[in-house]
């Protein structure tokens, strides 16, 4: 494979550069701008595949910003100087999600976002959002993580409020408040680390970690902040408003953005603290977050009449599965059972992250296609759309079956891993998880029935081609993952799970030894 050591920096730098060239190209020609943005997103996708392949076969990749030789970290008295990017299996895995969703969202947006309403700025923010997500998952520096978290939050806020309706502005404002509170928590935790260890590099802090009282406070702050950002119950209140009012392509991106926060949560729990902390307690806390999110999310989704609000509550519910799977892994960390089924639970949770980004992204995009043609998100005003919007309804069926965990789609593969592994810990966990799946299916049957079935009520056309193409990207991934789950788990998901567990490999890549 053609691999260049500069790829990690290019992946973050290219969308930033492109974001600010886009308004300049926009002056020349609208078509050239669209082609430019799509080309950049396609290059990003290609580069992340190259990088991920390299990481999955050869292990952790290090990139030191501004150094003569970026693959060597300059150490001075056990302090890594300069900002280091550290891409292990988990980071590469999250990067794959971000780039794929961004590409689908970019293609979808060409027709979805109407001209003449600051569209150049829309693409600028979209590219900055991608750069923020990639920076967050690639960085090996805690303060850098905070900076990218802020970049991501601010770009997301601008995009949520893009439609400028009163409720969109309200959604953006809620997101802004939650993001800022979470970011301040993170900053405070970073200050606690810096005061004690004089370090900002994640690997170096993990190496020097004493687990003092202050570190416990920092852990509580970080877990609360990232759980808030990923929309876990009881900090989920921002998600329905922001997800339902943002343009559909942006909602798909927001799902991926929430999962970047989920990544940060796992990185803190596994790499920064790992076996030092009371992982039983933290594991149980994350399992409880997960169970609450799953159950409350799905019960709130059932009575919704707004299609995107309903899907937003399902997003909360699905986040619960990831927290449950990885929480069980954390709970069993270090015990002899870990290698038997703890790692399976983690694989299930991590596999669910990518599955969820794909099918929930697809579902939000189909909801956006309905909104584009009908101008409403209210399920009561829909009906009979299956007569004309054939492709959209097929995409919706695929997404709905995947989210409900019906074989042969990808949701089934990850949910089965979670059910089986959690059953060994406590059968109650699996029972709740299955019940939530059944309720999810019920809820999506309701949506399908009221939106697509019935007599022809509206004289609407099929969604534009670019929107169908955007949805096709995600559908392809869903079907591929559904048909070859074994290959995906052993080649992509297992290295990601092992990257989280093998804390010393992450530390040694920077600190040597």
């Amino acid at each position: 494979m053609i691999y260049n050591e500069a790829i990690p920096a290019i992946l973050i730098g290219l969308p930033l550069l492109a974001a600010f060239i886009t308004p300049i190209i926009n002056l020349a020609s609208k078509k050239a701008r669209n082609a430019f943005v799509i080309a950049i997103l396609a290059i990003e996708e290609l580069l992340i595949i190259l990088l991920a392949w390299h990481v999955f076969t050869n292990g952790i990749v290090i990139y030191t910003m501004g150094a003569k030789n970026p693959s060597i970290v300059p150490l001075q008295a056990a302090v890594p100087v300069r900002i280091v990017l550290e891409i292990d299996g988990m980071a590469a895995f999250m990067g794959l999600i971000s780039c794929t969703v961004a590409m689908a969202a970019g293609i979808y947006s060409i027709a979805f976002i109407k001209e003449g309403n600051g569209k150049a700025r829309y693409y600028t923010l979209l590219l900055i959002m991608l750069a923020g997500m990639l920076g967050m998952v690639f960085t090996g520096d805690l303060f850098n993580l905070f900076v990218f978290l802020e970049i991501l939050s601010i770009a997301s806020c601008g995009l949520i409020a893009y439609r400028q309706h009163a409720d969109a502005v309200e959604g953006a404002f809620k997101y802004l408040v939650v993001s800022n509170i979470a970011a301040l928590f993170v900053l405070f935790a970073i200050a606690l680390f810096y005061a004690q260890y004089d370090l900002l590099n994640i690997a170096a802090i993990a190496n020097a970690m004493q687990y003092t009282q202050l570190d416990k406070i920092a852990l509580a702050l970080l877990v609360a902040a990232f759980a808030m950002k990923c929309g876990a119950v009881p900090m989920h209140f921002w998600a329905p408003d922001s997800y339902s009012t943002a343009p559909a392509a942006i909602t798909a991106m927001l799902v991926a953005a929430s999962q970047a926060s989920l990544y940060a949560l796992f990185r803190v729990c596994f790499t920064l603290y790992g076996s030092l902390m009371n992982y039983h307690m933290i594991g149980i806390a994350i399992i409880i977050f997960g169970l609450l999110s799953m159950f409350i999310g799905v019960t709130m989704a059932l009575p919704q009449k707004d299609i995107k609000r309903l899907m937003a509550y399902h997003a909360i519910s699905q986040t619960g599965y990831m927290l449950l799977g990885v929480g069980v892994g954390l709970y069993l960390l270090g015990s002899s059972d870990f290698n038997v089924y703890g790692i399976k639970a983690m694989e299930g949770g991590i596999f669910h992250i990518i599955n969820h980004a794909m099918y929930k992204g697809l579902l939000f995009l189909t909801a956006g296609a309905i909104y584009y043609r009908l101008g409403t998100r209210n399920l009561n005003e829909m009906g009979g759309l299956g007569h004309t919007m054939k492709f959209t309804s097929i995409y919706f069926i695929i997404g709905a079956l995947a989210i409900a965990g019906i074989p042969p789609f990808n949701g089934f593969a990850s949910k089965l891993l979670i059910y089986e592994a959690c059953y060994k810990v406590s059968p109650i966990l699996s029972i709740v998880a299955m019940l939530v799946s059944v309720l999810t299916l019920a809820s999506f049957i309701k949506v399908f029935h009221s939106a697509f079935m019935g007599p022809k009520m509206h004289d609407v056309k099929e969604a534009p081609k670019s929107m169908l193409a955007g949805m096709a990207v995600l559908t392809f991934v869903i079907i591929f993952f559904g048909l070859f789950p074994g290959w995906v788990v052993s080649h992509i998901v297992h290295p990601a799970a092992m990257a989280l567990v093998e804390k010393m490999a992450y530390i040694n890549a920077v600190m040597g030894g």
């Binding site: 500069a6 600010f20 300049i24 030191t64 910003m65 030789n69 970026p70």
Partner: protein, 163 residues
């Protein structure tokens, strides 16, 4: 002062003093940007000073007058170009087979001097790519902050609605 008859302008005294101060504020802004690698301040702070000069002119002359003189598109363009320069400078390091943000100007005639060890009055011609990055950030902040101020000043007018 701020009634409809005089278009939101302030008195002749304020307008005269603001006009006289303008070049000094801009020179100070340029000084802060250019000495970013030597003294406190830098691209952001210098850019904010220049944007505050625009705020001063809006306060003195009213937003209608300033809206005719300064175009938001121009400001947005300055912002985009500033940010693009920053990213391009960072990428030159990659092209030179070193790394992203590699300081490739060290040792060259342009900002390449190495300052002597110990106390010195500050050598302007040092810092490598830092002064260039400061200028890029300065452009971005002037464009960004001034555009924000202009949009807020024009909000409610028919021009402010669309953008």
């Amino acid at each position: 002062m701020n009634d409809e008859t005089n278009d939101g302008r302030m008195s002749i005294i304020v307008r005269t003093i603001a006009t006289m101060l303008l070049p000094f504020v801009l020179i100070f802004s340029f000084y802060v940007i250019m000495h970013g690698h030597l003294t406190p301040g830098g691209g952001f702070q210098g850019g904010a000073i220049a944007a505050s000069a625009i705020v001063m002119m809006i306060a003195a002359y009213g937003h209608k007058m300033m809206g005719k003189r300064v175009s938001e598109d121009g400001l947005s363009m300055a912002e985009s170009i500033g940010a693009a320069i920053f990213a391009i400078v960072a990428f030159i390091g990659v092209i030179m087979a070193a790394s992203f943000m590699y300081n490739f100007l060290v040792g060259t005639p342009l900002f390449g001097e190495t300052p002597p060890f110990g106390g010195n009055p500050g050598i302007l011609n040092s810092g490598g790519i830092l002064p260039i990055l400061n200028i890029a950030v300065g452009m971005k902040v002037i464009g960004g902050l001034a555009a924000v101020v202009m949009i807020m000043a024009l909000a409610g007018d028919e021009r402010g609605d669309e953008k």
